[in-house]
Amino acid sequence: MAALTENPGCSRRRIVDAAGLKAHELADRLGHPTLRGQSPFAIETGNRFEDRLKKRSGYALLVEALAPFVDLPAPPDLNVEDVNSVGRLADAQTWMEARVAKTDEALARIARGGADAPHVVDHPVLRLDLTGSSVNLEPDALAFRVGDRLELVEIKSYAVIDGQADPAKVSATAAQSAVYHMALRATLERLGFDPELLAWSVILVAPRNFGRTPTAHRIPLRKKSAALARVLGSVPRVGELLDDLPHDLSFDVGSTNTDSRAASEALNVVVSAIDALYVPECVQNCDMAKFCRSEAWSNDDPSRVGRTARDSLAGVSSLSEALALARSANATDGSDAEVGGALRDAFGALERARARSGDQSLLSRTVTDGPR
């Protein structure tokens, strides 16, 4: 999800997702495994926090934390619809279908405002069409009913210290919630209800300060949602992406292939054929990052040092080309004339400064000098 919302222009990631592949498994088979997995301590803490809020306290702690925003009856009057209770079904697919159906049904009851409507929907499963491929979303979030309003809730285990949390984490939560929000609205519409029932925000429930006491904060989503909608509206649909690819392209390079190296190379060819849009932030957001970074290194792609480098070097395909332009004595014409001129000016300024500083160790070195 993060990979999609943070870098929606990347066709590679979207096709990998549309093909239903797990990015980290693919990266592994490509020979570029991510240092993945969370700390066992963090997982334990996170699970324990959510468990305390829900099961262990019979949802009482959650209701209490939400009290400033949502007026809900305390258990046992609280009506909880746990969508997980459909039970384990034969295969994952039917189980998922059953949960989607059950979520739909619970949402419909809420929207109709019947007396039997649940106050809390736990473990909902929402289906969303994301640019041509259908995905199931499983927010640990819940939908609540307050009068005739629905609230989206997200439980996180990062600390909110003196009312402030790590901004990067809050922003990630908002981005993730914006997708859930979109899915919830779509679901309501599909069921024939007014999507405006859903508040344009998410209520974050997280531990307060250094302890385990939950606290709730409302995070507005309008802006994030609008940005998400804009981004998703502007990228080509998966179907269109596929049209541009060779028709016989397949990730299935033969799992029976005993020569794992050959398999990895074949897979490499396939994945490389799909356009990527690598930026350094990929390392934080996408499990394919090590593969794509190594590709960006071998292409000497300017975007590997940052988005701004990519943008200010528009039309220049590699860092060494940028350097050659900077060092060239004469103006070139062609598509990179403007960038080339600016680079030459910058290089001139740098060289003058180096000469002025009189420090030999600062003078520009060419590759023939090699590393010190």
């Binding site: 240092l35 700390s39 803490t45 531990p207 390392v283 350097l323």
Partner: protein
């Protein structure tokens, strides 16, 4: 990223070796700064599994503390208290105040003799120690909180002050090695990747042919505060064993388990310590820029404020700035950032190069100097000396006729662009004409003017603009104390503040027993 920085990055990538991006060092370096490194248990806001600190060159001589189970209050505080005790002791000589005559207007004022310097491996460790660990400690001993030894309360106050002060651009009291190195070296990778001290150092050392493989191998050894998940997975059974021993009340098993945790944690702390020390030594080799001493003076004045507050007991901090104070602090930080940029540009030709590249300089060779020229300046009735200098440009400029620029080598000297064409610029020296006439400026010499004014813009230290953390330590030795503008709360107020979490007795956060 400016184009100059982009070129430096490309040069570094080409040579697989970091490239200097400044001619001078812009950070103050103490002779023996205190190095602190830390690892925090994931999933917890402030629960260190290990800390190491010292001023020496070898991690073998550094002190360290390890917690067998950071989620257990006693075990956690055993490590925290050990660190805080030393930390407070390290800082106490810096809190000593001297009485000196005021610079202006007679009377006396108190000053701290020197400010301390603390260096940590990366900015994440800095905010961890300051904003998180410091915050978790600073209300201890108050109201309904757990009792902790006094040095721990002191350390909470010091760390809180450091956290606040570290927001000030150009400060050198609480330094992150990654930031300091990245300010002076360009690597061939992204800023995000430069946040990792191990890979920064690898670039400075020079990378082998297969640079990326090398970087990947060092990258995972993060120097804290977040442990690598794989390492934590190895740590987990050891921590569990310690918890089991605690539960069983088996002292011997407890010690054995603690030894095991220590065996796993100490080498990681030592690695981080050693790397931080290396970073300092690398920076030390770069000669300091003139502005460094001036900025350090600002640091010392800020520290004095803290020291004066500390002379009246443990300084207390509000949980958050009120909006007014927050706005003021923000304003001051941005003014200080501007001031820093200007200062560095005058101090360092390589920093100036970024402005030159944007055409904000007049760089060239002196063609002719007319020291005799005199004119009636606007607003004057008498003629005064207005030396003229013609410069043949060696680089493009965007400065136009009528614009002001200052001589880089002597910023008192300001000139106005009289006229210009593509090759030549005539400048008329309006300020400090005498200094200009005395300066050895002759035809054939290289000369640089910059369209930048070190005295314009807001003064970050203007008396009304200065928030409490950076208020000059001018407090009368006797007589009435000025109205206290600190965000402190009285003990009663603090007691009324609901302090939750590991510091509150009825919330046994994370205790696994």
């Amino acid at each position: 990223m400016s184009l100059v920085d982009l070129i430096l990055t490309a040069e570094a990538a080409e040579s697989r070796s970091a490239v200097r991006k400044t001619a001078f060092r812009h950070v103050h370096l103490d002779e023996r700064p205190l190095i602190v490194v830390a690892f925090n248990l994931s999933g917890e806001a402030a629960a260190p599994i290990g800390l190491m600190w010292g001023t020496g060159s070898s991690a073998d001589d550094a002190d360290f503390a390890v917690s067998g189970e950071p989620r257990n209050r006693e075990s956690r505080f055993e490590a925290i208290n050990a660190f805080c005790d030393d930390f407070t002791r390290h800082l106490s000589p810096y809190l000593r105040l001297e009485t000196v005559p005021k610079r202006r207007g007679g009377g006396f004022r108190q000053v701290a003799k020197a400010a301390p310097q603390i260096v940590v491996p990366n900015s994440a460790t800095r905010s961890y120690l300051g904003a998180r660990l410091g915050r978790s400690l600073r209300y201890l001993g108050l109201g309904e909180t757990h009792e902790v030894p006094e040095p721990t309360q002191w350390a909470g106050a010091h760390l809180s002050w450091l956290a606040e002060h570290s927001n000030l651009p150009g400060q050198s009291v609480f330094v992150a090695a990654t930031e300091a190195l990245a300010d002076h070296y360009a690597t061939g990778q992204s800023a995000l990747e430069n946040a990792n001290l191990a890979s920064l150092l690898a670039w400075i050392d020079g990378l082998p042919d297969d640079a990326l493989a090398m970087l990947e191998s060092v990258e995972d050894s993060a120097y804290g505060p977040v442990p690598n998940p794989e390492w934590e997975a190895q740590l987990e059974p050891l921590v569990r064993a310690y918890g089991d021993a605690l539960r069983a009340g088996d002292k011997e098993a407890e010690q054995r388990a603690l030894d095991e945790v220590e065996k796993a944690v100490r080498p990681k702390l030592a690695e981080a310590y050693q790397a931080t020390h290396r970073a300092i030594e690398i920076l030390r080799k770069i000669p300091p820029a003139p502005g460094v001493a001036e900025r350090w003076g600002t640091d010392e004045r800020s520290w004095t404020t803290h020291a004066i507050r500390a002379s009246k007991g443990i300084p207390r901090f509000a949980r958050r700035h009120d909006p007014l104070r927050a706005a003021r602090a923000l304003q001051q930080w941005s003014a200080a950032a501007e001031r820093l940029e200007t200062q560095q540009a005058f101090d360092d030709p390589l920093v100036l190069a970024r402005l030159d590249a944007e055409g904000r300089c007049i760089t060239g060779v002196v063609e002719e100097v007319d020291r005799q020229n005199s004119e009636v300046k606007p607003g004057n009735s008498r003629r005064s000396s207005v030396p003229l200098v013609d410069v043949r440009l060696t680089g493009p400029t965007r400065l136009l006729a009528g614009e002001r620029a200052r001589l880089v080598t002597d910023k008192r000297i300001a000139a106005v662009v009289r006229w210009r064409d593509e090759e030549t610029v005539r400048l008329a020296v309006m300020d400090a004409a005498r200094a200009f006439c005395d300066a050895p400026i002759r035809p054939g010499h290289e000369i640089v003017f910059v369209g930048l004014d070190p005295w314009e813009g807001q003064d970050p230290w203007g008396p009304n603009e200065v928030p409490w953390t950076h208020r000059d330590g001018e407090e009368p030795v006797d007589g009435d104390a000025p109205p206290d503008d600190s965000p402190d709360m009285s003990l009663d107020e603090l007691a009324a503040v609901p302090i939750v979490g590991i510091v509150s007795p009825d919330d046994v956060g994370g205790v696994v027993l």
